[in-house]
Amino acid sequence: MASTSTTISSNVDETFAALRQKKKRALVGYLTAGFPDAARSIECLRALDEGGADIIELGVPFSDPIADGPVIQASSQRALELGMTLERTLEIASAAKLRAPIVLFSYLNPVIAGGPDILERAAAAGVSGILLTDLPVGSDSAREEWLSSGPLSFIRLVAPTTPVERMAEIARHGSGFVYLISRLGVTGARTTAPEGLTETVGRLRSATKLPICAGFGISTAEQAKHVSQLADGSVVGSALVSAAAVSPESVSRLTQELRTAIDS
């Protein structure tokens, strides 16, 4: 599998390079496209962007989100009921005109259905990267090759259960950053800090030079701060989706709290 060294640096790479220079950690924020509806989805994305997120994960709603907890499941279901699709997700990405690079967060099936030119169309809509929850490294070499040779950074995931040799293999086949699933389970807010994160980040550091962003279960400023002391970035999802259900202002407030905690 070809893959490894992208010579052209992407927006995601530039973002991390700039953060490194400023000795800052990344705030990665997730929102479900089309939730609570298409118009407010754009407002919430702008609130997240203006509030200080460095990378924005834009969730493509899927009917059967096996990696997601109740909050993102419900937001996806609602967005689908209102007619959200991958195509319309790209329209949202394009219309939002964000400063932060957008990474599509999707399940594989809608992306396959998008057709062979979907990656180019996503890039044209202003998307910088893609992350697929259900395409682990080595699962489908033809499609992985298609994704890694396309115009988007291809972000791969590492889990707490991943052996260290496999971590290296995963990192070799990805670009942009490595998404570290910080705990067993699905997405969703938890009250506790992830156990064993220090060790997992340590093992992953020994396996790759790519930036490491940790997510799953990170919802509060305190948790984001804790994670930022270990990883290069913290991913917050369900808590932001819950805020989006309330108002763009809530997204803005939470983003600023997270930003302040991470930078402190």
């Binding site: 899927f62 009917s63 059967d64 989100p65 096996i66 990696a67 907890g69 109740p70 499941q73 279901q77 689908l80 699709t85 991958l86 195509e87 399940y107 594989l108 099936n109 809608p110 992306v111 396959i112 259905a113 998008g114 929850t133 259900d134 395409l135 682990p136 490294v137 080595g138 699962s139 489908d140 070499s141 791969r156 995931l157 590492v158 889990a159 707490p160 259960t161 991943t162 052996p163 496999r166 995963i170 699933i181 067993l184 389970g185 699905v186």
Partner: protein, 394 residues
């Protein structure tokens, strides 16, 4: 690359799951192969199948149905297994494997409730903790099986997301497994899911076809012309088909649920009306819309009400080795009545699809042809639903 890309049937199958599960699937893959190569394991499995499940299941001739069809019809009686369906062949095997792997908490999904009951049963027998996910809609349709599972000591968790049927119960079971992967074993009930499940479930269910093949040779002195089974996820069909796949003269026919009609948009005929796509860890034919969203299935029978299908069926379809057909809700009800009246066997609504297809295709066979039907389960579980449908006993 490691074992990850193994487990394909042609282009179908694979392991499209969250990364967290990959090491567990590697472990399962190795443990299954080791166990099947271990004579002690196989002896224990065979012993349980014989003395607990009640195998071998009989092969019944069906004189009155044969007369009507105009061929020699044989019925492989999985309805006579302990718990009333073929599902227990698989749960006994997987529970033994779970115990061998030291995993004492069992998770399962269920549609009609037969797999849930079969899982709860073997968990009681082995003293394993058992959690079964079941869609709210199916809980309503299959009240009796919910009661049975609880009686057997299982925890039944209602699933309220999505369509509230088997599809969503499966998603919820996967979420539980991702969360508790260290100490939990997920017993999938059909030949679906990420590798190695489709192969493993098929191998545990293949006892149906192995027995039927030798019973046919013994009783009829020949192989059947046609083997017929209903297909939802497709485990009873894979179980009876698999030992016949190399016998090229034997026709393999899988009967999907046409629901309210193949062109109504309300059916469960993934192989005939679906497109290849990824659901629950495998690439296979899938009911989906043009945006890649999974389209809800419909069938009168909860056990066939699934928008996906086992990847090996997709392979058998595309390679032309098996033929896939469909039977509507209404015709399935007639099939149920037909077998009840003619042979004194009340089949499950799932099985009734296979019966109805044979009855509707009588011109295919000449009087000397043998037709083997898998009676995947008994209809007791469906009686309450039948009465609410107004199906008269007359």
């Amino acid at each position: 690359m490691s074992t990850v890309e193994a487990g394909r049937f042609g282009v179908f199958g694979g392991r499209y799951v969250p990364e967290t599960l990959i090491p567990a699937l590697d472990e399962l893959d190795a443990a299954f192969d080791e166990a099947m190569a271990d004579e002690t394991f196989r002896a224990e499995l065979d012993g349980l199948l014989e003395n607990y499940v009640g195998r071998p299941s009989p092969l019944s001739d069906a004189p009155r149905l044969s007369k009507r069809v105009g061929a020699q019809v044989y019925l492989k009686r999985e309805d006579l297994n302990h718990t009333g369906a073929h599902k227990i062949n698989n749960t006994v095997g997987q529970a033994l494997l779970a115990r061998r792997m030291g995993k004492l908490r069992i998770i399962a999904e269920t549609g009609a409730g037969q797999h849930g009951v079969a899982t709860a049963t073997i968990c009681a027998r082995f003293g394993l903790d058992c959690t079964v996910y079941m869609g709210e809609e199916d809980i309503r349709r299959q009240e009796l099986n919910v009661y049975r599972m609880k009686l057997l000591g299982a925890k039944v968790v209602p699933v309220t997301s999505g369509t509230r049927t088997l599809k969503d119960a499966t998603s919820e079971a996967i979420r539980d497994w991702v969360t508790n992967v260290g100490d939990s074993y997920y017993i999938i009930g059909s030949v679906v899911g990420p590798a190695p499940y489709p192969r493993m479930v098929r191998d545990f269910q293949s006892i149906i076809g192995r027995e039927a093949k030798s019973q046919m040779m013994e009783r009829a002195g020949r192989l059947p012309k046609t083997v017929v089974a209903c297909v939802g996820g497709g485990s009873n069909a894979m179980g009876i088909f698999h030992p016949f796949v190399e016998d090229r003269d034997v026709e393999l026919v899988g009967v999907e649920a046409a629901g309210r009609g193949l062109d109504s948009g309300e059916h469960a005929a993934s192989l005939q009306r679906g497109e290849p796509g990824v659901l629950h860890g495998a690439l296979s034919y899938l009911l989906q819309d043009e945006d890649g969203q999974v389209h809800p299935a419909h069938s009168i029978s909860a056990g066939l009400d699934y928008p996906g299908v086992g990847p090996e069926h997709s392979f058998l379809k595309d390679s032309g080795r098996a033929e896939y057909v469909a039977i509507s809700d209404d015709d399935a009800l007639k099939g149920l009545q037909l077998l009840s009246r003619l042979e004194g066997i009340i089949p499950a609504l799932e099985t009734a699809h296979a019966i109805a297809w044979v009855d509707a295709n009588r011109e295919r066979w000449s009087p000397d042809d043998a037709v083997l039907i898998c009676v995947s389960g008994r209809g007791d579980k469906d009686v309450a639903q039948l009465t609410t449908l107004g199906l008269t006993a007359q």
